[in-house]
């Protein structure tokens, strides 16, 4: 669904059903060209959850931009994509909150499984996208949203964090907040077995920590079309070497 654009059979194009053997052979060859070791088997969401999700919606938009450049192979790429040939989006699998009632700063943490990133791909950019609603608790406040990578969790103290990005906005603002997490990519490419942990803090002008949820930032409990995700852009790398047939 979604009305994605793409090649469709032209009116004069011959239509013929593929036989079972042809179909298997064609599948194997196309998967090899796409650089996939096998046919992906995504988990089907339950029927009630089959509403458009944020990451696929965003990626569909990116697809239309990229497909629009396909006929101009070698020409000026669409500005948003730069020279990226591979774009991957990741939905977070775990979300933790430390919120009101404690002395320590409040935060919201997201974990992403990056084990599906192909080996040898060079990251050109990475973004964390989270939707913000107008805050009903903090009226006319300036909020500072900072994002850190969780480098090392410590059992007896605060985790080791690496600063990634800071955005300033008003409490009444609404829309997708985009935080640059490119700086984290060096580490995650070295340590693929470890999940990427991103921690988000919200502070006011006078340094007071604010619950990200009260600031209007939506997490995993949000509607599917407004759930947070990470999107990563990769520079073209030579395709995997295919075994001779």
């Amino acid at each position: 669904g979604g009305g994605a654009s793409g090649p469709r059979p032209s009116p004069g194009c011959p239509q013929r059903r593929l036989g079972p053997r042809e179909r298997r052979y064609l599948q194997r060859e196309i998967l090899a060209v796409l650089g996939l070791p096998g046919r992906p088997r995504p988990r089907a969401p339950p029927a009630a959850a089959r509403l458009p999700a944020s990451a696929p919606l965003f990626m569909l938009d990116m697809y239309r931009a990229m497909a629009g450049d396909d006929d101009e192979d070698g020409g000026t790429p669409e500005r948003r994509l730069g020279r990226a040939d591979l774009v991957m989006s990741f939905v977070n699998m775990v979300e933790q909150d430390r919120t009101l009632g404690r002395q320590e700063p409040q935060w919201k943490e997201f974990r992403f499984d990056l084990t599906q990133i192909p080996v040898g791909e060079a990251v050109t950019a990475a973004e964390f996208r989270i939707y913000k609603l107008p805050s009903t608790h903090l009226l006319n406040w300036t909020l500072h949203i900072s994002m850190f990578e969780v480098v090392l969790e410590q059992s007896n103290r605060e985790s080791d964090l690496f600063f990634l990005d800071l955005q300033t906005l008003r409490s009444g603002d609404e829309g997708w907040l985009v935080l640059d997490v490119t700086a984290a990519s060096d580490r995650w490419l070295l340590n693929r077995s470890k999940d990427l942990g991103l921690r988000l803090y919200v502070e006011t002008d006078d340094g007071r920590s604010v619950d990200p949820g009260l600031a209007g930032l939506l997490g995993q409990q949000a509607p599917r079309s407004k759930q947070p995700f990470v999107v990563t852009f990769f520079r073209a790398s030579p395709g995997p070497v295919r075994a001779p047939r």
């Binding site: 796409l34 995504p42 569909l60 697809y63 396909d70 591979l86 991957m88």
Partner: protein
Amino acid sequence: AVRPLKRRLPKRTNELPPPNKLPGIFDDVHGSHGRQVCRRHELYVSFRDLGWLDWVIAPQGYSAYYCEGECSFPLDSCMNATNHAILQSLVHLMKPEAVPKACCAPTKLSATSVLYYDSSNNVILRKHRNMVVRACGCH
């Protein structure tokens, strides 16, 4: 390769067909011995036929165009022949047992982008260059 069904030639008209239409009577598509000259043939592979729509989001299929046809002397301008191909086809006439005809092959290719889910339900968008034949010629 999957071969397309034979096509009927379009009816005579007073207008020139657009370049991307199948060749009709205005195009000299028949080379020596009635064989077709080198040109692009259209073929579309539907991902629905492959049963892939549970993981491929877009596009719906792949334009598996291919090049086929004769590269015989004299090579016409519509064959996009290189100078070398023209010479080779001439030499082939003189020494057919030693020198083959020029090859009918893609001269221009374009990319295709594919949007799909992986097994972890991440969404992947990948551009694959030089995937779709835009033009064929004798090389």
